[in-house]
Amino acid sequence: MNRKVIDKEEALGRLEGDIELWNEIREIWLEDVDALHQALLATFVEKASDGLRRAAHAIKGASANVGAVCLASVARDLELQAPAGDWTALAGHVDQLGKEVEMAKKALSEG
């Protein structure tokens, strides 16, 4: 796991080392992340800046919980940029977020 897509140690530290609990929220994240990502893409297509901000906020929260630090960081940037409505710039963030989603999924699927 190069570039530390998932900071499992940090996440486990917050959970007091409870690996069972971390596995449970990891599985929930894996079940939910595609729907969250699709919802975000839909708001981007519709150019709904507030919806995009909310969708990015949701991905940020869910990803930080499980230790997906890179994805959480990109989602945070997108959440902050969305209200400006610069759709050219936002396209780059959305694209980057998609890549981070895939990397986080791959890393978390491996446990």
Binding site: R14, L21, E24, D32, H57, K60, G61, A62, N65
Partner: protein
């Protein structure tokens, strides 16, 4: 002891699972809600002891949920901790200004969250216990002050009897009998607006003021002016009392009646004739410059005077004249009743007409 109940509100499944698991493992009862509307429903169904509330919720957001909880009976003092990934200062300030007790930014450490939950539950319990203790002390004070109300056996020269029936523990009716001088007594009956602990405390305060401002140097009007001056300074808007003070001078066989918007006292003659002593006047405690009506008349030994609160007057749908007529007939029927029984018999005879209410009926014999 029942475990504290915590309501966790978040639209993110993993977070709810995390919260529910961590808190249940500590022995808490945990309810969950995934939207603001659902949170309000849950809180109404089973009131929680603490709420962990996300801000970015679908529908009603966390701020709106908190604002509504603060208007919900039973949830006014409910500790609410915001649990959110919104890190902006403005968001925190808004949360606290709405009455949140704490603000935790996600992702959070379980140990820290549990510590915060524990301390806020303890604090809420302490505040509840403090409020309960203060209410208990106030009630004790009221009971103690009521217990020093004048009793006929303590002041036989006043030749009075009384029926005092508060409809609730903390009623606003009051009475007192004071010795103004040898052969001179003041008989007071009053009625404070409201039927709560505040009314009861005002009643106690009015009684204390009556005693402080009664004596040969004060006319009954002076006494009322002094009571009014003190109460008008102190009472909040909307709180006042009506009252009637009858000073009886057995040396001169005279009565002086002063009224503050109170139902008129009645004179019952041995023949059964009843006369109401009507005088107008402002209420006590509402305005600094209140005016009080007064009148004077002679009485003969054996005449009885009845002073009462409006609990004895049936008013709904009837004129005051009709209500007084009904009461006058009831008093007249008690012409031969022993003085010590007259107030109670009068209240009993009016009860089928009036139902349960605060009632004071005080009678004395000239």
């Amino acid at each position: 002891m029942t475990s504290p109940r915590i309501l966790a509100v978040d639209d993110e499944r993993a977070n709810l699972h995390l919260l529910a698991t961590a808190l249940r493992n500590e022995g808490y009862l945990v309810d969950i809600a995934t939207s603001g509307e659902q949170a309000l429903e849950r809180a109404a169904e089973v009131p929680p002891d603490l709420v962990l509330l996300d801000i970015g919720l679908p529908g009603l957001d966390g701020f709106q949920v908190l604002a509504r909880l603060r208007q919900t009976e039973g949830c006014l003092g409910l500790p609410v901790i915001f649990l959110t990934s919104m890190e902006e200062i403005a968001s925190k300030v808004r949360g606290f200004s709405l009455g949140a007790v704490d603000y935790v930014v996600k992702p959070f450490h379980l140990e820290e969250l549990r510590a915060r939950v524990r301390i806020h539950l303890q604090l809420a319990r302490s505040l509840k216990a403090l409020a309960h203790e203060q209410a208990r002390r106030l009630e004790s004070l009221v009971v103690a002050q009521r217990s020093i109300l004048a009793r006929p056996a303590d002041l036989p020269s006043a030749r009075f009897s009384v029926h005092f029936q508060p409809a609730q523990e903390a009623g606003g009716d009051l009475y007192d009998v004071v010795e103004v001088g040898p052969g001179i007594h003041g008989y007071f009956v009053g009625d404070v607006s409201g039927h709560d602990l505040g009314a009861s405390l005002v009643a106690s305060a009015a009684t204390a003021l009556l005693r402080q401002n009664s004596g040969p140097a004060w006319s009954p009007e002076d006494t009322f002016r002094m009571i009014n001056g003190a109460l008008a300074d102190w009472l909040p808007p909307g709180r006042f009392l009506t009252g009637c003070l009858v000073r009886h001078n057995r040396n001169t066989h005279s009565l002086r009646v002063v009224s503050a918007a109170h139902p008129p006292p009645a004179i019952l003659e041995p023949s059964g004739r009843v006369t109401f002593l009507e005088s107008s006047g402002d209420v006590l405690g509402a305005f600094a410059q209140a005016q009080f009506g007064s009148l004077e008349r002679k009485v003969r030994p054996g005449d009885r005077v009845v002073i009462y609160t409006d609990g004895l007057l049936e008013r709904a749908g009837r004129t005051l004249v009709e209500s007084l007529n009904t009461l006058g007939q009831a008093i007249s029927r008690l012409t031969d009743a022993p003085l010590e029984d007259l107030p109670r018999l009068l209240a009993d005879s009016m009860a089928p007409v009036l139902g349960a209410d605060d009632v004071v009926a005080l009678a004395f014999e000239a």
